[in-house]
Amino acid sequence: MIERLRGLAGGDAVRSGRDDDAVHEVAPGVVVMPDGSDACAAVLAACSEEEWTVEIGGGRTARSAGRPVSRIDVLLSTARIRGVTEYEPDDLTIGVAGGTQIGDVRARVAAARQRLPLDPTSARASVGGVLARGAAGPMRRSWATPRRQVLGIELVTGDGRVLSVGGRVVKNVAGYDLNKLIVGSAGTLGVITRVHLRLLPLPRSSATLVLEGSTRNVLTAAARELLEAPVEPVALELIGSRWRLIALYEGAAETVAAGIDAANGVATRAGASIGREDDALERLAAAEAGAPLVIRVADLPSRLEGTLAIAQGIAGTSGTIAAHAGDGIARVMPRGGSTAPGAAAIAAAIEEARAGMKGGTVIIERGTTELLRLVDPWGGVPESTLRLTRELKRQFDPAGILQHGRWVT
């Protein structure tokens, strides 16, 4: 296996798998680091032919997502597929290789007073990985989810075809929007080797305010009021167990000042304290990135209180919660998920939450091996779309090698 892959990707691009490559305690047989889409295609074509199962790795910040499997033949890392391939600042778009770390792109565009509208919890995440997961943070309130930012994708399919989907311009309806199919597909359709993305100008000013109230309900009411104000916060996070509401305002100085005024008014009426903490969202991201277990509970924004109650049920007394208050999405970070009794309790709470929800979802974004052996991370694809999901997958990965056994299908 190693020899064949070395012949395709180059001698120094292949090594044996090690314990620190492991996904849910299973180390891959080999690790391949192709240096571009051609080598990637050759490797995947061979893997398909040999039916070697492939795990795709970017920045390795989300490897505990998905179901545990008992065997991984190949870890295909995009670590050597990196760099900015195209950047004309005045177009407000950028082309980057799939393995490029988010932090590197951020640094590059910051020099032109621009920013990348993607906010995964870790800056070490690769661009391809963030898109594969569809991962969005607090800024989804104003940026929407990553699918909005993607203009084009180069994808190497499971059987080694190189596809160029979409384009480089900000508006494009030529052909099917395969970008949307790929974003959020969790690596099940192919390896993202290059992307073109939208950029945004840096805001001229910003301010982060933190409200603290006596109870959670005081703060959910405050959140609702902030969202009704003429100047809406661009991010609004409700975090607990010590409940705090973080509101970020951005824009022209006068706009931010009006936002601060509105927030002060809301805090006064709610009897909540208010203060400025400009690093509050960074600290939240760091806490989430470090949590071994993250469970997402999502439902309509109007049902936020109910969603938080469900989240509390999963968090137990010792866990923490962070919610995108305007979007109805809570992330739960319970403790004790790596012990057998702890995992069993959390699994039971997840199953109970799923059974009790009508249209909402409970997803394990990042799980301990113990927990994921007990409960499915997604709770299954809706029955009616399962056939479509499987057939779409087959068109891109006919041998079924990519993320084998790890995803919903």
């Binding site: 160029s164 030529a174 395969l178 945004l200 824009g251 022209a252 706009t255 439902d299 999405i329 979802t361």
Partner: protein, 484 residues
């Protein structure tokens, strides 16, 4: 209509079965009743449909598609027929399934800023109904007073304010769809997506996957205030550089539209005269919206940028009446241009924003080289060009030149790193460009996705993908008749 061969009628059993369910007014089969369904907004093509069927809801649509599938009869979903790429033409002896009787707003959920509607609801109607709740539907295609939301979803429609708010796909939360075999699927829901983003894949598939019969759409909050200005330029090139400068300066207008001299003159000579100076080479309509606080600051910066680029005058609207007047020239441009020649071909292409000055200049040259009158009115902030070619079809030489000039413009846009359509769709009209835009493996992948949704090839056949790519679509000889 001499020379047009009519498709075979539906067999009597099927027609009777459909009439029993939908009533006589739900099944049109006489040539005179079907005349209006022979073409869409791209009037160059006419194809008589085999029949026109008008279901009233999801269940009826499912019944219709199941019945058609049993006889392997293809179908084309149709909203208001305002599309500009020939997407609603009934090729391959297809039946038209009109959404005209699916015009209900099923639910307006103000708390969650969303609405569930049937596909035949008119775009502007949804915004009108949402306004008392302080909400509106953001995508605003030029045809918004006529076009349907189902059509917007099928085409992934855009509009002037998509610069800030995004195109239709950014506002679709969930869909109920009827597949070509008559089965019904729900895509999207109240929580997060589990599995693939089927909603995102469906939007913009131009009716080739099936028919969406219930749409859950996101509504946006009506802005507290707007600041609208008209910047007037003596040189076209200065205007297009000003567009690039405004975007490059980090301003995010809600809309940034350009109107050139030919368009200004057409507007000013029409009943829609908006007071634009007819000697100007170009004008930009720039609008900012949002909270009142800070809005004037943004607008002032944009005005300064325009002045620095040589704008001879920047007019700021002081109230809604003035704002409407500034917009009138833009919104009524196509109507005004339509008076100048027997026919108006509205092209659609997108280029990177920095390429705009160069490409726009080249588009004008191409017009001149082919002896054609070109007028430009377009979404400059997105780099989305709409060169309008004014011509007379009765002159075969002119028609030939229009086609050559169109191809040349598309080539220039693609070479500049752009695309052949930003919002009108591929339909029938632009299939030939797909080969220049995508490589063979990518076109094949699109075809394989189409087959997953529609293995029998019944949904809007012979659209979007070149026939050569999806060979099995080739059915009976396609009768496309150029209107006399």
């Amino acid at each position: 209509m001499a020379g047009v061969t009519l498709p075979p009628p539906l067999d009597a059993g099927l027609a009777a079965e459909l009439r029993a369910l939908l009533g006589d007014e739900g099944v049109l089969t006489s040539p005179s009743e079907m005349l209006v369904y022979e073409s869409d907004g791209l009037v160059a093509y006419r194809v008589p449909p085999r029949a026109v069927i008008l279901p009233r809801d999801t269940a009826e649509t499912a019944f219709v598609l199941r019945a058609l599938a049993e006889q392997r009869i293809p179908f084309v979903a149709r909203g208001a027929g305002t599309g500009l790429s020939g997407g609603a033409l009934a090729l391959e002896e297809a039946v038209v399934v009109s959404t005209a009787r699916m015009g209900q707003v099923l639910e307006l959920d103000a708390a969650n800023r969303r609405a569930r509607v049937q596909p035949g609801v008119i775009n502007a109607e949804l915004s009108r109904l949402a306004a008392p709740h302080g909400l509106y539907f953001a995508p605003d295609p030029s045809s918004q007073s006529a076009c349907t939301l189902g059509g917007n979803v099928a085409e992934n429609a855009g509009g002037p304010h998509c610069l800030k708010y995004g195109v239709t796909t950014d506002h679709v939360l969930a869909l109920t769809v009827v597949m070509p075999d008559g089965s019904v699927l729900e895509m999207g829901g109240d929580g997060e997506t589990i599995g693939y983003d089927l909603v995102g894949l469906w939007v913009g598939s131009e009716g080739t996957f099936g028919i969406a019969t219930e749409l859950t759409l996101a509504l946006a909050s009506l802005p507290e205030a707007r600041a609208t200005m008209l910047a007037i330029f003596d040189r076209l090139d200065d205007a297009s550089h000003a567009v690039s400068d405004v975007i490059g300066a980090g301003l995010l207008p809600a809309a940034l539209e350009m109107i050139d001299q030919a368009t200004i003159r057409a507007v000013e000579a029409s009943i829609f005269a908006a007071g634009y100076p007819v000697d100007a080479a170009a004008a930009l309509v720039i609008e900012f919206d949002g909270a009142r606080a800070g809005l004037d600051e943004e607008a002032a910066r944009a005005a300064d940028i325009c002045t620095a680029r040589g704008a001879r005058e920047v007019r700021l609207a002081n109230d809604d009446t003035e704002r409407d007047a500034l917009w009138r020239g833009r919104k009524k441009a196509f109507g005004a241009l339509g008076r100048l020649a027997p026919e108006l071909l509205v092209q659609d292409a997108v280029v990177p924003r920095t390429a705009l000055p160069r490409v726009l200049a080249r588009v004008m040259e191409i017009g001149a080289e082919h002896g054609l009158r070109i007028a430009n009115v377009f979404h400059a902030g997105d780099g989305n060009l709409h060169p309008c070619i004014l011509f007379d079809r009765r002159d075969p030489d002119q028609l030939e030149r229009v086609e050559r000039a169109s191809r040349e413009m598309m080539r220039v846009c693609v070479e500049a790193g752009g695309t052949v359509t930003g919002e009108h769709g591929i339909g029938l009209d632009k299939r030939e460009y797909m080969n220049g835009l995508f490589d063979e493996p990518t076109l094949q992948a699109m075809c394989s996705v189409k087959r997953v949704f529609d293995p029998a090839g019944l949904a809007n056949p012979a659209k979007v993908l070149p026939v050569r790519v999806c060979r099995e679509w080739v059915g009976p000889a396609t009768r496309v008749k150029v209107a006399p």
